[in-house]
């Protein structure tokens, strides 16, 4: 997603009353050949990702979580091994220095810690958040995207995008308050 220059048109946005209307419109928009589209909704709507054509491959969060978990667990385990066997060996009752079962609780905790931090910060990074400025915030009615309305946006860099025609098309799929989104400052 490219951030447009000042005063450039970002896209066209239309509003829907219910998740059902939005889903139906999203399907029609995709069938009409638009690819650079996104929906803005106040809660996760089941099936919306499929309606917009977002595949599973768009979601790198599980992979990042796996990497974080493996990284945390392996680092934790071998670090304890290194401390106990080489950096600070202590003979306690003649037990082996490599007393690995005793290292499992900390290994487990660090696995969870690594996986969780990667899941959260990975999700934020992939979503490019924090991002305080976005052209959509210039649309007055967009406030409702976090309250009770469902929005569909066709972005200007879509090859099929044409200001008037796309606006008419959005209205034809029952979108209300079709508005041009501009990056104003």
């Amino acid at each position: 997603m490219k951030v447009p220059h000042a005063n450039e048109v970002y896209g066209l946005i239309g509003e829907f009353e219910t998740p059902k209307d939005l889903m139906a419109a999203a399907r029609k928009v995709r069938e009409a050949g638009y690819h650079h589209i996104d929906a803005y909704v106040p809660f996760p709507v089941e099936g919306l990702s499929q309606a917009l054509g977002l595949g599973r491959k768009h979601d790198l969060v599980p992979l990042l979580t796996l990497i974080g978990g493996l990284g945390g667990g392996l680092t934790g385990f071998f670090f304890q091994l290194w401390v106990s066997m080489s950096a600070y060996p202590m003979n306690i009752g003649g037990r082996p220095l490599n007393s690995w079962p005793a290292f499992i609780p900390v290994t487990f905790e660090l696995t969870v810690l690594g996986a969780s931090t990667f899941a959260v910060f990975g999700m934020l990074a992939l979503n490019k958040l924090p991002q305080p400025h976005h052209p959509l915030f210039n649309v007055a009615r967009f406030k409702h995207a976090s309250i009770d309305k469902f929005f569909l946006c066709i972005e200007a860099h879509d090859p099929k995008f044409h200001l008037e025609e796309t606006a008419r098309f959005l209205q034809s799929v029952n979108a209300q308050h079709v508005t041009e989104v501009r990056d104003e400052d």
Partner: protein, 461 residues
């Protein structure tokens, strides 16, 4: 099964079965929950409650200051009872936190819709309980400014923590638990912070909520990743919450002290933690729904379900007590047998019988539906269970330490004023944080409530 139809159609049961009262729309749930934070004026009741809690928190600050000036000698601990109130309170608080994670993670994985309106403040409760819990081992070290020694860092003394010690496992378990609970809570809050940003009318609130929401705009692409991160976090928090009280129980069961050295400790500690945690969730939920008119969202169904979870976990705890008792006698180990006698007839037997009364006998009333659906009775019951779980930790810590292997090493434990003031002080800290939370952040997840509205309206169609 012949009564099945009758039960389903009885209006009383239908009313109970609702997780949200009918007639709510996306806008009305948003309005109702957000207005508590954004528009509702500060009430006299809130101010009064906050002042009391804040005063108690100052008692905590004073007690800690005096402790740092004088040392741990101001407490009742001695040799052989080196643990005392500090560890009793630590285990009690950390256990309370467990219900929050259970509600937010385990019930989420099990797809229990009734968790929706209670998960946010239960998670907040977890965070605040962990904060209270963390204070105790820290100040119990005697020199809390040296506490960083417990973390592995490359020190100029070239020493490292002893990773074979359950006390170091505890450091990792509790700090991971605190961190992951905070992450989980914050991720859940992001969409609601965006709602508050968009609804706030005053500039300061817009800026603060705006920064916290980080520019969340509800994009379907974002929600997609958000949901997978949330699901993964729930999956990670589930074994984590079970591991935390397991590690806490290792603090006891790895030691060879009679009454501590038992393999039943991990499951029975985890069940006890969830038991006390649900009691605390009820203790908070009942006044909260009353004070902020949230009866539509925190319905009788929620209260009754929580009562059922308490009854079930209470029975697991009772099973734990029974087998702890049975295995001591069955083992024939004379120190273990002696410990059982000490619990029943020793100097602290009063605590033991009070514990049985609070944790096993009283909760049996929850079998009766009239009790489970009586708000006042549930509130009293939750307080009784909180007390009972505190007594359980007192019995475990104190009785075992006062009566170990040789009579010359026996002792007595008498808590002092400072023991009580520190404990009461942490309750003050906990309640203060809750009061601030209710005014600053949405106590119920708004985005999830909208989802619930969407689901219930689909069912009607």
């Amino acid at each position: 099964m012949s009564t099945g139809d009758h039960t389903v159609n009885s209006p009383e049961i239908r009313r109970l079965a609702r997780v949200i009262e009918p007639g709510h729309s996306y806008a009305s749930v948003t309005d109702k929950i957000a207005s508590i934070v954004l528009t509702r004026p500060v009430s006299i009741g809130w101010l009064a409650g906050f002042s009391i809690a804040f005063t108690l928190m100052m008692v905590l600050m004073g007690s800690i200051a005096w402790l740092i000036i004088k040392g741990v000698g101001i407490w009742g601990i001695n040799i052989p009872i080196g643990w005392g109130f500090a560890i009793v309170n630590f285990v009690w608080w950390i256990g309370i936190g467990h219900a929050g994670t259970l509600i937010s993670a385990i019930l989420f994985l099990l797809n229990q819709k009734w968790r929706t309106s209670i998960n946010r403040f239960a998670e907040a409760m977890t965070l605040f309980a962990v904060a209270c819990a963390g204070i105790f081992p820290l100040i119990h070290t005697g020199r809390p400014w040296m506490a960083y020694y417990m973390f592995p860092y490359p020190s100029t003394m070239s020493i490292w923590p002893q990773f074979r010690s359950p006390l170091i496992w505890d450091v990792f378990a509790v700090s991971t638990y605190g961190t992951v609970s905070a992450l989980f809570w914050f991720v859940g809050l992001i969409p609601d912070l965006a709602t508050l940003r968009d609804r706030a009318t005053n500039k300061t609130a817009q800026v603060i909520y705006g920064m916290l929401a980080m520019g969340w705009r509800g994009s379907a692409r974002h929600w997609h990743r958000y949901q997978s991160a949330y699901l993964l976090l729930a999956g990670l928090a589930t074994p984590l919450v079970l591991s935390v009280h397991t590690v806490v129980s290792f603090d006891f069961s790895i030691a060879i002290v009679p009454g501590w050295h038992t393999t039943i400790f991990p499951p029975y500690f985890v069940a006890g933690a969830i038991y006390s945690g649900f009691a605390m969730v009820l203790t908070i939920a009942i006044p909260l729904r009353k004070a902020y008119d949230l009866e539509d969202f925190i319905t009788m169904r929620h209260l009754e379900n929580m009562a059922k979870v308490m009854l079930a976990t209470g029975l697991i705890v009772a099973y734990g007590y029974f087998f702890e008792f049975f295995m001591s006698l069955y083992s024939g180990n004379k120190f273990d047998v002696f410990l059982v006698q000490q619990r029943l007839h020793g100097p602290y037997s009063g605590y033991y019988f009070a514990l049985i009364l609070c944790n096993i006998l009283t909760p049996q009333l929850l079998w009766i539906q009239k009790v489970r659906t009586n708000v006042a009775a549930l509130f009293v019951m939750s307080l009784v269970i909180n007390l009972g779980m505190w007594l359980e930790r007192f019995v475990i810590v104190v009785i075992s330490l006062t009566r170990d292997f040789v009579p010359s090493a026996w002792g007595r434990y008498q808590p002092t004023f400072w023991d009580y003031s520190t404990f009461v002080g942490t309750i003050g800290l906990f309640v203060t944080l809750l009061f601030l939370f209710v005014r600053a952040l949405p106590a119920i997840s708004i985005a999830e409530m909208r989802e619930l509205v969407a689901h219930t309206s689909e069912e009607h169609e």
